[in-house]
């Protein structure tokens, strides 16, 4: 077996899935921390958002890597689900999955699909308008009115505006519940897939629970904070 066949093997695929998951979890944490700034300081949030939206390393290196990571993760998720379904052609008449495994671990495809649906909404809300303003209209100023420098940055205003609609806020909160469920299995699973099961595993599992509940709960807090305060 040569190196080129790593991705065609079951372990190679799960290793790649784990690496993409770990990358996405790092991205999610930095996204959360930047969003959290919006609660404490409008100016800091605007400054950091402008930096992230205009710095070439972020825009032309990290953003394509992120898009690849997201697409790879969900495409591989679908591929594995199809392959795994084919591995048991006749299903059990009676199966007690709950007796030996968590709901989260058995339903990653459904929590993943819920997150994917949310991402479509999130892209329509933020990413597509951002790409339109910067790369189609050519406005890299980040200002509310590009002709008026004193108008200030637009990022905080856009964020607050999006969280005015209670239906959208509800959809965001629901999506973060699914994200928490996905992470509650996915976080520690990624480490196991990457071969990390050792004396640090217990501690890592405790951290994974804090991350998996804390980060989505934080996003929910930010959405509700702006909904009720603006």
């Amino acid at each position: 077996m040569s190196k080129s066949t790593i991705l065609s093997s079951s372990i190679g695929r799960k290793f790649a899935m784990a690496l993409s998951a770990l990358f996405l979890m790092i991205f999610l944490l930095q996204h959360f921390l930047i969003n959290l700034l919006s609660v404490f300081s409008t100016d800091s949030f605007n400054e950091v958002s402008h930096f992230m939206g205009t710095f070439w390393v972020i825009q032309y290196v990290m953003q394509p890597v992120l898009i690849f990571g997201v697409i790879f993760h969900f495409v591989m998720g679908f591929v594995l689900e199809i392959k795994n379904n084919r591995a048991r052609e006749v299903k059990y008449a009676k199966n007690k999955g709950a007796a030996n495994s968590s709901w989260m671990s058995r339903n990653m495809i459904w929590s993943g699909l819920a997150i994917l649906s949310f991402m479509a909404l999130h892209f329509i809300d933020f990413w597509i308008p951002e790409i339109n303003i910067k790369y189609i209209q050519g406005d890299m100023s980040g200002l509310l009115d590009p002709t008026l420098p004193e108008s200030g940055f637009r990022y905080f205003e856009e964020l607050v505006h999006k969280f005015e609609n209670p239906i959208r806020v509800g959809a965001y909160c629901l999506a973060f519940v699914f994200l928490a469920l996905h992470l509650l299995h996915g976080f520690s699973s990624a480490f196991q897939s990457a071969g990390a099961n050792n004396k640090y595993t217990k501690g890592m599992e405790r951290f994974s629970k804090i991350y998996s509940v804390g980060v989505p709960l934080g996003f929910v807090f930010i959405a509700l904070f702006h909904h009720f305060n603006h």
Binding site: S9, N84, K94, R106, S189, G195
Partner: protein, 249 residues
Amino acid sequence: MMNLTLKIWRQKNASDKGSIVDYQVSDISPDMSFLEMLDILNNQLIEKGDSPVAFDHDCREGICGMCSLYINGEAHGPDRKVTTCQLHMRKFKDGDTIYIEPFRAKGFPVIKDLVVDRGAFDRIQHAGGFISVNTSGNTQDANAIPISKHDADKAMDAATCIGCGACVASCKNSSAMLFVSAKVSQYALLPQGQIEATDRVLNMVQQMDEEGFGNCTNTGACEVECPKGISLENIARMNREFMKASIKS
């Protein structure tokens, strides 16, 4: 004494479609083993001139790995760290309905009724589950090779796998990774296993994939249902060994 309704998978041969058939058994003692209960049912069927239910069994003391059965939705039934032959009827109540199905996986095709072909495990073993020893006359005494207690214990724990296939049957993806990782680990942890270490993990994983088993998603069901308590730690070790071997080769 208990009266039970059994819902048993009946399938004449590998090409038959098969279906669940209901049976009633009465006067079952709670002290009987599960397989003895099936023996009683088969006696009844033979007396009536019906075909007995085919099921695998051999040692009936939990060490051969021959018995299987998916009982009420769990491999080897509701008890933990026992094989079906060690399961007693005291785990059930009078009037219970018990589903009895074969281990289900594409890699374990049903031969007849509850008997499945687990030859895939043998082929995985043939692909790398062995070591080479120089037997020319100056073979080193295994007891003279220093091995740390930690590694020896881990290797022995992995070697307790009896290859029953409960891991595959319990896994929602029909993954065989717990079995393969136990076999890889028991050699990877010992100096005797180092000569073929790279080829072993690559060949055994390749054979596992060719047999049509699914991909592990770390649900942990295999570890819970394993009658010998084989740990998920072995799967992590196999993942490491595989990636290391893939880079080396």
